[in-house]
């Protein structure tokens, strides 16, 4: 493999830096050459294979080792890209934003430091995956549920720091985060919230402590390396009942979203319910070629055939009820009666869905916090495995949902892609998560996907929609759309960046935030 160096660092200084890292972690935990394949973006969408190539990786086992590595990085001017489990594949995996950055792989820091069953929280290190924490809770017999995102191999901490979501009532992961320990870019160690009070007993119980709330600064940012984090866990409810509601027509989306908003805001719908498009549901069980070998948008006749064969709708709500049975019965009556106003709505519980691999059987586990990998089935839909998420945010309004849907669907069809998406319903907004599937082995299709993505970002911004998260290759594009008042927010972020990280060693370019050292012509 061709050796890639960090910008502005010569081979001798880089070799000295790696030697310093080896002194900290030991030879087996500094990776170069072929070992770096694990840190490549498996779904890279850009033509340049080296656009996000790491120069090396280093895997510390403790906070003290992280501090020592950060100090060495400052000494040699070597940039670091921290990753926890590195499984955020639709957004770049473990690969760094800037070619030549050294990946700081926190996978060995994988201890569940504490679980309080009574208070309902866990304190974890970055390398603890959802599978790990779930296994720990099961092994100990705690009556607690965790909240998991779709693939369970990701980091509990990493997902919360990236503003990820899950599907129980605790689905807002950063909202459920409480207390951090952070290594700053100069190597200093801080604890946030109540953790700053020596001898405190409430670090994982009260988020805000005293003074400015700092935790948000360390999410989707490059201002520090979080080495411990508290996460709230849901007490096991006395009852649980997952459900699915299907709707038969495209245009039903508007009415469905308008019905859903007051139910969600009023907490009749308790969890982070999702509305899934026909093809996203279908792709969990089938591939495109099982229905057609023709390119281009699927005709209505094919869509109807898929709906009939899989007994699914053009739109499909997956939700769940939690609590004592009488409470669930009451909530369900309200939910059913509300959506029954949509002509053709169909209602299902688990016992109604007997087809092998049915999505409700999979969602039934996810919505009760059992980690799985089922969601990855959709990458089989069109063949080639590549996918990235386009995720604009909108109000929970039917007209907005239809506007986003038609805007994105039409562009996807124009560029030769199928529309697969879900609307994840939050407290006051919804994420429209669109899965752009492409054949990662076909350069022409990748180029089309990249062109489409950049166009979608621009058109969404022009309509007032911003993405909440994105792939490495589009961080600058999306940061630029948050440009109110001559990019005042980015200027503030850069000011903080330069104050905390004057040598620019921590995650250059993360979320479009570049340190002065690499800013160059960038604004």
């Amino acid at each position: 493999m061709k050796q890639i160096l960090p910008p502005g660092v010569d081979a001798a200084a880089f070799a000295d830096a790696l030697q310093a890292f080896r002194k900290v972690v030991g030879d087996p935990f500094v990776y170069t050459g072929e070992a770096l394949l694990s840190y490549a973006d498996p779904y890279s969408i850009v033509a340049d294979d080296n656009a996000h190539a790491a120069s090396a990786a280093v895997a510390p086992a403790s906070t003290e080792q992280v501090q020592a590595i950060v100090k060495a990085a400052n000494q040699f001017g070597v940039p670091l890209w921290p990753v926890s489990c590195g499984k955020n594949f639709a957004y770049g995996g473990a690969a760094p934003r800037m070619a030549g950055t050294v990946v700081l792989d926190l996978k060995r820091m994988n201890r569940v430091l504490e679980v309080s069953e009574g208070d309902g929280y866990a304190l974890v290190e970055p390398g603890v995956s959802y599978f790990d924490l779930y296994d720990h809770i099961q092994a100990k017999g705690y009556k607690l549920w965790l909240d998991v995102p779709d693939p369970g191999w990701g980091s509990v901490m990493g997902n919360a720091l990236e503003h990820g979501v899950g599907y129980t009532p605790y689905g807002d992961h950063f909202g459920m985060q409480c207390g951090m320990e952070v290594v700053l870019p100069n190597g200093e160690l801080v604890r946030t919230g109540m953790g700053a009070l020596p001898g405190n007993t409430t670090w994982q119980l009260f988020k805000y402590g005293f003074g400015p709330y700092m935790d948000g600064l360390f999410t989707q940012s490059n201002f520090g390396i979080v080495t411990k984090m508290g996460i709230w866990l849901m007490p096991e409810p006395p009852g649980y009942r997952p459900y699915m509601i299907s709707f038969q027509r495209e245009e039903d989306l508007e009415q469905v979203v308008d019905i859903l908003r007051p139910l969600k805001v009023g907490m009749v719908i308790q969890n982070a319910a999702t509305i899934r498009s026909l093809l996203l549901v279908a792709a969990m069980n089938a591939t495109r070629s099982q229905y057609t070998h023709q390119p281009g948008p699927l005709p209505d006749s094919t869509l109807r055939k898929i709906m009939a064969e899989q007994d699914i709708g053009m739109w499909n709500i997956y939700g769940a009820l939690y609590g004592p049975p009488p409470v669930m019965d009451t909530l369900w009556t309200v939910i059913r009666d509300s959506f029954a106003k949509v002509p053709g709505a169909r209602f299902y519980f688990l016992e109604d869905r007997k087809q092998p691999g049915d999505l409700l059987t999979q969602r039934a586990e996810t919505m009760r916090g059992i980690p799985r990998l089922s969601e990855f089935s959709f990458i089989n839909w069109s063949g080639g495995g590549g996918h990235i998420g386009f995720s604009p945010v909108s109000p929970i309004r039917g007209s907005e949902a239809m506007k986003q849907y038609t805007m994105v669907r039409d562009r996807m069809h124009e560029y030769g892609f199928d529309y697969l998406s879900l609307f994840a319903i939050g407290w006051r907004e919804m994420h429209h998560v669109v899965e752009l599937l492409f054949d990662r082995r076909d350069p022409a299709i990748k180029q089309r996907a990249e062109d489409l993505f950049r166009l979608l970002v621009k058109e969404a911004a022009a309509a007032g929609y911003g993405e909440y998260r994105t792939h490495l290759s589009f961080m600058d594009d999306i940061a630029a759309t948050y440009g109110w008042n001559e990019h005042a927010l980015m200027k503030l972020q850069q000011t903080i960046k330069d104050a905390l990280d004057p040598n620019g060693i921590l995650a250059p370019g993360k979320q479009g935030i570049w340190p002065a050292r690499y800013r160059g012509g960038r604004t």
Binding site: G26, S38, W153, A286, T287, G357, L373, F376, I379
Partner: protein
Amino acid sequence: MPGNAITRRQLLTSGVSATTVLALSRFAVAGGNLSAIASDIATFYDPRFPISRTLAGALPGASQLEAVEGDASRLLTHITADSIGRQRKRLQGVTTEAVPFCLEQMARRHHEVRFESQRLDRDLFAWSLEISPRPAAF
């Protein structure tokens, strides 16, 4: 006939393309380059695609075949630390892409991994994942 080479008659009656056969034969040769660890091999096919069973049965060392559709969640028990123990193990199959991708990514977390795959058509991949216990230093 699991474990045996695929016969000409099977291929002719399966409807599989010549390109697919050629790709699989290349893959089988590559699979032969993996370490001889035939004592612990698990072989998978996708029941949604009948040809996958025939082709999976022709992979080197295939004996009992296990069905799996697109979701690899159920197969994770094959790659836990307890399952691997001190032994090397090979998982292989002819399935859609999500299955080997998820298994490879999960296995890399805890084990040494050698992975090979060959695309057979739009949907199916022949693949082999050889897993060894990671050195104790980890």
